[in-house]
Amino acid sequence: MKKISVGASVACLVLAANVYAAEPKDGGAINVVVQPEPPSLMIGMYSNGTTQQVGGNIFEGLLRYDKELNPHPLLAKSWENSEDGKTWTFHLEKDVLWHDGKPFTSADVVFSVDKMLRKTNARLRTSLEFVESISAPDDYTVVFKLNKPFGPFIRLFEVGTMPMYPKHIYAGTDYKINPANQHPIGTGPFKFVEWKKGSYIHLTKNDHYHVSGLPHINDLYWHVIPDAASRAVAFETGKIDVLPGGSVENFDVPRLTELDNTCVTTDGWEFFSPHSLLWLNNRQGPMADKRFRQAVMYAMDREFAKNVLWNGFGKVANGPVGSKTKFYDKSLPNYEYDPAKAKKLLKEMGYDGTPVRLLPMPYGETWQRWAEVVKQNLEEVGIKTKMVSTDVAGWNQKVADWDYDISFTYLYQYGDPALGVSRNYISSNISKGSSWNNVEGYENAQVDKLFAEAAVAFPDSKRQELYSKVQRQLVEDVPVAWLMELEFPTIYNCKVQNLIDSGIGINDAFGTAWIKQ
């Protein structure tokens, strides 16, 4: 047996994150915007962005991940993997208490992963198929046995993916309607106080937090402010200290960042590295033709979009895997903005001017504007485009039922192609009714094969090779039109120190943050 990694303590991680910073001070309250108001704080049950943001400070996973996505200890103080990569053993922190005072043990882990999450977390369910058994030899040890050496397994322990639930509260109940969902109990640095619907969520310091000296903050308020302009106003008037990424319209970002005593960072999204793309419905119309799909790539001025709509944040995507995600291949070719080439391709394929419907993403101004830009781009190379307008509900419906031609979307990559990328291209993942699988209907046996092998290949060098192959193939076929690797700048009052120190940013930020008086 050899240890693959031994966890330093979280405290070390903190220090590592800001050696330059002054000595942390305790006390104070931080006001954060939460937009939109989450349906629930039950992270892992609801994977809405804002559920993660708030819930991530109440609940915890076994591990944390830094900005390079390396695992660090949290509820598990150390772990090891067997030679064949099939057995993972985790050693839990002792004397960790739930917010209700009950001790946290391996039983909770087994229950959470094996019982509750299998039922409630659809995304994790697919990954858990590699897990043969979960056992707890003693109160502070948990052993996962895999049927294959599933490469990305070590990245499953982030709080949003695999949060720990208190067994003594959920065991034997209907998880979805358990009253505790309204008053969540976790092990995290903050305890739930109250949720004034439509107004704010109030969390307070967990005095018995298992990491000594943390958290520094006394109170945490998440404000619901539905109107983007008002959110900006709130920040300017000092009512709000932190604007999580995407909570103000991009058009406001430059102005806000120029305000004095205002800090901005794009860190804290590495784990998700949101990848925006256009779903091209490969099944029907011109989109069925590879040349058309390539033409779309050439027709779009993605630099313009990046500069005008995203204030230069982010990076034009040139393939299925984000540059911050593992196994990204730098050597991929890129589709430059080249209308002439697009026109040529269209001519070749003999595009007859059949109009295509463009479905924008109903997530606010920026996306609407972006759709308008793309529409304009496409029309300029002669692709007749009709903008379909719709709300979140309609959008999900249309995409899930494949009732679209071109549709905006963006997908999280969860640090590893096997977790966040393959799901969007493998033919086994074509199933009507979900808006987050291979909805473009791209089928390529070779791609399927490559992804399948890569997921369980061992060690990483082998995986890299396979993933490079599949990336090339996809870039050639253009099953979807990749737009940008999005970066959501987090804007905050500079008095807030050490805000972002993990790969999931805001989602578990406040345990380590502190306020400079």
């Binding site: 319209e249 102005r255 313009f304 005008v308 304009q376 307008s389 719709t390």
Partner: protein
Amino acid sequence: MNIIKTLSQNKVAMVGFFVLAIFCLIAAFGPLLYDGSPWKMVQRPFLPPFENSNYLLGTDTLGRDVLAGLIYGTRISLLVGLVSTLIALLIGIPLGAYAGYFGGWVDELLMRFTEIFQTVPSFALAIVIVAIFEPSVYSITSAIAIVSWPPVARLVRGEFMSLRSQEYVLAAKLNGQTHRNIIMREILPNSLSPIIVLASLMVATAILLESSLSFLGLGDPEIMSWGYMIGAAKTVVRQAWWLSFIPGLAIALTVLSLNLLGEGLNEALNPKMSGKREN
């Protein structure tokens, strides 16, 4: 009582009339005379007004010509306003006429029906309708019409109730005129003036409604409208106030002039300025 004459003597109303006329001309011929699509990105974003002579009113968040947008917007705003009002009248007048003329259970029935539409909060209803049938000029127009016909029905009903017992109507009955004739030729022409007044105000309200809907993001994405422009600019109002100011001004002007005209009509049509009130 020559309406045109009385009206033309009312300066305020005339101002309204001319402003409106100008907007109508823009709506009719603007797009033909002014080339340039309102969607094309022509200049750097956020170009302020009166800086570049080619784009007099500056450019929007994507560098699109605001003036072009304004011109195309005029067309759609007026169109939505007029058409929806027209539809509302087409629903409201017959209903009100029948209810008021026949009275009795017909009245009871029709008025209960109207009451239902008056009970549901109208703006909320409009929002739901548009959202449900997906934002498009059609859904927006019909939604506005659906929420704005009840006042018409009530007004017309009231008029008919008071007019049906007028002696010239009785005379028509004695002449053996058909109900249809009496409604169409005896009563309706005499109840037109308050309807005209109401209609002019309804167009104004409709334009406001349209902009409110677009502001909430329920506009037709294929069409450049004033409401859309404000909605799109609301997030950048801080750094580019003119983007929401200009279309906002356009709306206010149109609505204002419509109201002035309405007031004028009201005074011209019923000199005792008998402010007709619904129910």
